[in-house]
């Protein structure tokens, strides 16, 4: 194995491939947070008065809150006055008519990241909203989507053009007072994506948002709101990257999903923020609140996440199963290596009758990574015949990593059936031996075993992204076994 150890050492040093910085001029607000900053953001976005008041309410509530400390995470205290709450590429603010008007540097950035923004990438069949620091720079396929009646636009635009929808749904799933980071986001969110699928419409293409943090010392606070009206269907994907910087940057997003009667929302995330270097210097602190509300009967929300980046991941995409016969799903692969820490999981709140939920969580800890699953399954008193199956498995690679499981199960209805299973183990010597004996290198063997371990989750991803996720996982884990 000595030889392998050598290969391993080489590979551990592999750099984060999206770590480049785009050199463009930008409007960046001086660091600091106050009511004036919020007024500035709101004014910059030309928001109606109700939005400003909503933000201020959130800010005043945030001042009374404390950062949560219950997660299995360690980090130096965050200074919220050190962060810049708004940064936009110089041309931002005015509406872009076509891709030609986008700064070529930015287009180049997305090209390097492999995100199809050009219209000729039609074959990819994915509509993309590209968010660069605090603003959405471009949204593709808007016209084609509009034909189907689908609204897909930056949330800042939705606030101006569809205030009735925004006012009706914003904050109804994750309230401004929900938690520390959600309150902060509500106060200062700058952009994000808004999706509305009208009654009975099956969204003709995959929707996608690509988040990129570029500017130093900024935080990204995006807000996503997806509403699937009765009988509609949408599949949505988000991806994220950031440059390699020595300081830690904060990303505190809020995602709200609303599924009305018979509607289905499939939300997939491939999160690849900059994880920091091998000594744990730099990296994104990812504190995200994601929640879906199965408001109508027979509605369905499915979360799939592949978390490979971020120095810290704190996120619990949840489902409130309010409608009868509604379905909630959570499929997750979280990989931590180096000094990365992840505390992630889900909440399934069963309220309606005959509701069911599935949780599949796969945690992989390598080198000194720390990975925790934290989940709640609550079966309410009226949730007759509720059904939950939870499986969370952890794979340990290296003797300094750690894996934790903190499931909470609360059952208040006797007709419920709840099952929870968890295992933790390292890759079996016998499995490795079997593969190597058939001529695979240690690297290939590990990649094969890990991919098998994650298969259940990958099969939930849209096809194009499943391949990407698999590649990402291989890159992340290369060189972690010896």
């Amino acid at each position: 194995m000595n030889n392998d150890v050598h290969v391993v050492d080489n590979l551990i040093g592999r750099d984060y491939e999206h770590g480049f910085v785009t050199d463009i001029e930008s409007d960046t607000l001086a660091p600091g947070l106050s009511e004036d900053v919020i007024r500035y953001i709101s004014e910059k976005k030309a928001e109606p008065e109700f939005m400003l008041q909503w933000r201020l309410q959130a800010y005043r509530h945030w001042l009374t809150l404390h950062e949560p400390d219950w997660a299995q995470l360690r980090h130096p205290p965050l200074d919220y006055q050190e962060i810049s709450y708004y940064s936009a590429p110089k041309q931002g603010g005015k509406k872009l008519q076509s891709l030609d008007e986008v700064d070529p540097e930015i287009l180049d950035t997305y090209r390097k990241l492999g995100i199809p923004l050009e219209e000729q990438m039609l074959l990819a069949g994915v509509a993309v909203d590209a968010v660069f620091d605090s603003v959405s720079v471009v949204t593709t396929f808007k016209e084609k989507l509009a034909e189907a009646g689908v609204i897909f636009c930056p949330i800042s635009e939705a606030v101006r053009e569809h205030p009735e929808l925004v006012q009706k749904y914003l904050g109804t799933v994750v309230s401004q007072r929900d938690n520390f980071f959600a309150a902060l986001n509500s106060a200062v969110f700058s952009d994000g994506t808004f999706v509305y699928i009208p009654k009975g419409v099956r969204c003709p293409m995959e929707l996608s948002t690509y988040f990129r943090i570029n500017e130093a010392k900024t935080g990204q606070f995006e807000r996503t709101l997806i509403i699937a009206d009765a009988g509609s269907y949408v599949s949505y994907l988000e991806g994220c990257t950031a440059p390699s910087r020595d300081e830690n940057q904060l990303h505190a997003a809020v995602v709200e999903l609303v599924a009305l009667e018979d509607a289905t929302i499939k939300y997939s995330t491939v999160q690849n923020w900059y994880p920091g270097d091998r000594d744990g210097k730099g990296g994104i602190y990812n504190f995200v609140t994601k929640r879906g509300d199965c408001r109508g009967d027979r509605s369905r929300i499915s979360w799939t996440q592949v978390e490979t980046g971020s120095a810290i991941t704190w996120k619990y995409p949840s489902c409130i199963l309010r409608g009868n016969e509604s379905i909630g799903e959570f499929y997750s692969v979280a990989v931590t290596r180096g000094k990365q820490q992840a505390d992630t999981g889900t909440k399934m709140i069963h309220i309606g009758r005959n509701t069911s939920s599935t949780i599949v969580s796969k945690g992989i800890s390598a080198v000194q990574g720390s990975n925790a699953y934290r989940g709640l399954v609550r079966i309410g008193q009226r949730a007759a015949n509720a059904r939950n199956h939870t499986q969370c498995d952890s794979l340990l690679i290296g003797d300094q990593c750690s894996a934790h499981t903190f499931p909470y199960i609360e059952v208040r209805n006797p007709s419920a059936k709840v099952e929870h299973e968890a295992t933790t183990s390292k890759i079996g010597e016998d499995q490795l031996f079997y593969c190597r004996q058939r001529g695979l290198s240690a690297e290939e063997a590990v990649a094969m075993i890990v991919n098998g371990f994650c298969k259940e989750v990958f099969k939930e991803l849209p096809l194009e992204f499943a391949a990407e996720a698999q590649k990402l996982l291989n890159v992340t884990l290369e060189g972690t076994v010896g």
Binding site: D399, S402, Y408, I409, P414, V418, T424
Partner: protein, 443 residues
């Protein structure tokens, strides 16, 4: 009055009633232990639902009661005639404690082999205080929670078992704690110290029962130390009065290759909690915690386990099953911690709950914290009701609904009871389960 104010009031009342012990002035170390406990009780907060370990364990009902310490009347004894003092047919050494105080007359200790000490802590305090002092020095007497502090501040008696190196105790030791409340509700605070030296073996039955009047609060603190290669089979039968409160805090410290197997039965009591802290300190040690909980009426049955693997190659095994018969609540909070150096750990945790009524509640929290990679750990939890198909199968064979239900429940709990190596105790447990099922279906 809010909970903390209530708690304070409760504290003052209990403390005021606790008479200073005449022995204290002669034994400065003991005086100090008690004083420290009093101080830390005054300092530490009473747990509330905001404390993670008490999240699902409501204390309001307990704190609303007022208790007087049961230290007042140590002369209270029971006659030998009470049949409940022995498990029928079981040949055992027997010790009886009434309200936490040793009752020599009701006990049966004849024929103890050499090298086995079975006595009360009070006796030891009078006769060999230096021995107890030495033990206390090894024990961690710091009280990090209010109930342990309260216990240490009030406790003057309890069980003491010591088995010398390589001595095997030939018969089980049955220790019965009888609550005999008088006109006023009492809190009794028996301490338990069990230490097995290297290679020693014993079977110990710890049983709680009552004379059947009124309610009381049993606050037990047990400390168990197993030397290298020692083996302890520990059976716990908690059958308190239906209105009684019971808290057992059990600290277990295990040296290399020791073997600790505990089987707990929560059979009765309005508020029952068993709180384990197991430290595996030597390699190749094995710890097995199993149990069954019958949750009648609106009772609370709560099992907390903390297993700490701090050395390589230890095994731990947990399996708890509960049967909810009324509108009560079952809480299971298990945690396995595998420290970085504890490679080759094997840990398994299971918790299965069967709900037979509409308003019951199950809160379960099986946790793993793993800092080593060469480990095999798993946990599994289920919550459900009786399988309709199984019921149908039995009924189609002419078995009436009640009997069929009973058979299925007995079968569900059978996995736990079947592991009981004492046939008399197993029969006793099965009988208790049948009684509870009959009572629940009759109601």
């Amino acid at each position: 009055m809010n909970t903390s104010a209530q708690a304070k009031h409760w504290y003052q009342q209990v403390m005021a009633e606790s008479a200073p012990q005449p022995l204290e002035s002669q034994l400065p170390w003991w005086q100090q232990v008690r004083r420290q406990a009093r101080e830390s009780f005054a300092r530490v907060e009473f747990p509330t639902r905001k404390h993670e370990a008490w999240r699902y364990t409501p204390l309001d009902k307990l704190l609303q009661q007022s208790f007087v310490p049961a230290t007042r009347d140590p002369s209270l004894t029971l006659g030998q005639s009470r049949p409940d003092l022995a498990i029928p047919g079981l040949d055992a050494y027997r010790m009886v404690f009434v309200n936490g105080h040793f009752d020599a007359d009701a006990s049966q200790l004849a024929g103890l082999p050499a090298g086995v000490t079975l006595t009360s802590i009070a006796t030891l305090l009078h006769e060999q205080p230096q021995k107890l002092a030495a033990l206390y020095q090894q024990l961690d007497t710091a009280s990090d929670n209010a109930f342990s502090a309260l216990h240490t501040a009030l406790s003057t008696d309890g069980l003491f078992i010591h088995v010398d190196e390589n001595v095997h105790v030939d018969k089980p030791v049955e220790v019965v704690f009888v609550a005999a409340p008088g006109e006023q509700a009492v809190t009794s605070v028996p301490g338990i110290i069990v230490s097995l030296a290297a290679g020693a073996r014993a079977t110990w039955i710890e049983r709680y029962t009552s004379t059947g009047q009124s309610f009381y609060f049993q606050n037990v603190l047990a400390r168990i130390a197993l030397g290298p290669g020692a083996k302890l089979d520990h059976y716990r039968v908690v059958a308190e009065h239906a209105d009684a409160y019971h808290l057992s805090t059990i600290h277990v410290r295990q040296q290399a290759a020791s073997d600790y197997r505990a089987m707990t039965m929560h059979l009765n009591g309005t508020w029952l909690r068993s709180d384990w802290q197991v430290d595996l300190l030597g390699t190749d040690a094995l710890s097995s915690l199993t149990g069954l909980c019958l949750v009648n009426g609106s009772q609370l049955s709560d099992v907390h386990t903390r297993i700490n693997h701090s050395v390589p190659a230890c095994k731990s095994y947990e399996n708890f099953k509960s049967l909810l018969l009324g509108n009560g609540r079952m809480v299971f909070d298990g945690s396995i911690k595998v420290q970085p150096q504890a490679q080759q750990t094997e840990a398994v945790m299971r918790n299965d709950n069967l709900m037979l009524s509409d308003d019951a509640e199950v809160d379960t929290k099986p946790q793993l914290e793993i800092f080593a990679d060469n480990v095999k750990c798993s946990h599994g939890t289920t919550v459900g009701q009786l399988d309709a198909e199984q019921l149908f199968y039995l009924r189609s064979r002419g078995i009436d609904r009640h009997t069929a239900k009973q058979m299925l429940c007995q079968g569900f709990l059978g996995e736990i009871t079947a592991a009981c190596a004492l046939p008399e105790l197993r029969a006793y447990a099965e009988h208790a389960i049948a009684d509870a099922l009959a009572a629940a279906s009759g109601a």
